[in-house]
Amino acid sequence: MSTSLKDRACIVGIGQTAFCRAPGSGMTQLGIQLQASLAALADAGLKPQQLDGVMPFPNLGSAEEFAANLGIASLRFAATVHMGGAAPVASLQAAAAAVTSGIADYVLLPAGWNGYSGRRARETIAMDVASLPGGAIARDYYMPYGLTAPPQWYALIARRHMHEFGTRPEQLGAIAIAMRKHAQLNPGAVMKDKPLTLDAYLASPMITAPYRLFDCCLETDGAAAVVVTTAERAKDLARKPVYIMGVAAAQPYPADEITNRADLFETGLTIAAPRAFAMAGVTPADVDFAEIYDCFTFEVLQQIEETGFCGRGEGGSFVEGGTIELGGALPVNTHGGLLSDAHVLGMSHITEAVRQLRGDGGERQVADAEIGVVTGWGDFGDGSIAILRR
């Protein structure tokens, strides 16, 4: 008997709040996540009390408080995957395993924060050792040398990629511009009506070289949530289900230290992507669009390579010439991503993929989208990937 998760679990509901910077959401971090959760449940045609599983994002709320607020009287599955921005997609895997094995019937995946009006992401990481990947390692061996925040960690890898493969700033710029173009077609995107040119990209101030301002994701308020159940139960719900064809998550070695890897480019996704494609029984060439965790531009390029959309070292030329824009061979981040829609910790990449596969993409709909990929990237290169179909 096969134990593969292929096509056995579905995303049946999606929800999200408005995404914004100033003046902020006006709600608590838990409140906006509950708002997105209730929207996802309504979308699915489920009552909150029908939930029996909750998978909160790391450090952004407990399953207990979600359950108490939502009236979940029988919480049977409560878990958090500690993979930073890779957590939402990795949670899809755990939720699929939970519902197909009968541990739970309906699992809620919420994520959200007041990343603009509350404590900024950059400060949280720099000042709170408990939330640092690597924990004491980062405190004792990175921070005293001024290596204190995610763009600095990842810039170390980007620099090596430029050295080994000749990747150029203009190619990172092509990623920022593609995300910004897509945001112009997304009425809710924070960067709507703020187009970006290559000149403006190149002129933007350095944050941590080689990352300029426009290589870096937004800091925003907002939340998103999805509901997962079995393919069997999905048939009785309000919306046409989106099937999880393949899903995997993995960590690089060593996961708690980003500089001592034999191969600096071998991240969690390197391990996870072939497993997910093998489960799904499709190849990267079969994929119609990809929502790729875009904390910084180079991470998009690297994940395009490690997912297998092109070979390692070929990402720079791959992203040029409109390949990753709507109308290109592989539209990436059709909503604008973390770079130009909003930073919702990767959960909005899942909601956007579901929207595309339902045909609800509006002006930014990928024509006849059948198969979409969503990735997550977190901490020191943890990776996750889901291959979804309509």
């Binding site: 950059r122 405190r139 500089t259």
Partner: protein, 138 residues
């Protein structure tokens, strides 16, 4: 973000193996763990050898020499303790022993850094208790 230059720079917590590593630095010695079983060098400090499983290891003196492996130039510091330091460059040095270490160079401007630049350790006492292993151009 409170960019007060008076915010102290972050320091390592001197406990366990980390205390031992930094105590050697304070004495002017860069030492890494080396497995007594299979000879594998390691950094950062670990309890057990991930190659052979041996708990036996020795703090073994490094040549102190290595090459610049990669770096970033922090133009916008993201920790208030470094607000007055920009631009500065966290650098990864690959030691002759094979391990890599996060550090800074004391005598090379950020825009003069180059991959494979040869460097050697240059200790910097930042407090009476803590000496950081930094590097200079060799």
């Amino acid at each position: 973000m409170t960019d007060t230059p008076t915010t102290p720079r972050p320091l390592p917590a001197l406990q366990g193996l980390t205390q031992q590593f930094y105590d050697f630095c304070r004495q002017g010695e860069l030492r890494f763990q080396r497995c007594d079983g299979c000879g594998t060098w390691r950094h950062v400090p670990r309890e057990v050898c991930a190659t052979c499983g041996s708990f036996a290891w020795s703090w073994t003196k490094s040549s102190g020499r290595g090459r610049v492996f990669t770096w970033t130039v922090a133009a916008r510091p993201m920790h208030p303790g470094f607000a007055d330091a920009a631009p500065y460059a966290p650098v990864v040095v690959e030691m002759e022993e094979g391990v890599r270490i996060v550090t800074q160079l004391v005598d090379v401007a950020p825009d003069a850094l180059a991959i494979d630049m040869p460097v050697e350790v240059a200790f910097e006492a930042v407090t009476p208790e803590v000496t950081l292993p930094k590097f200079r151009k060799a």
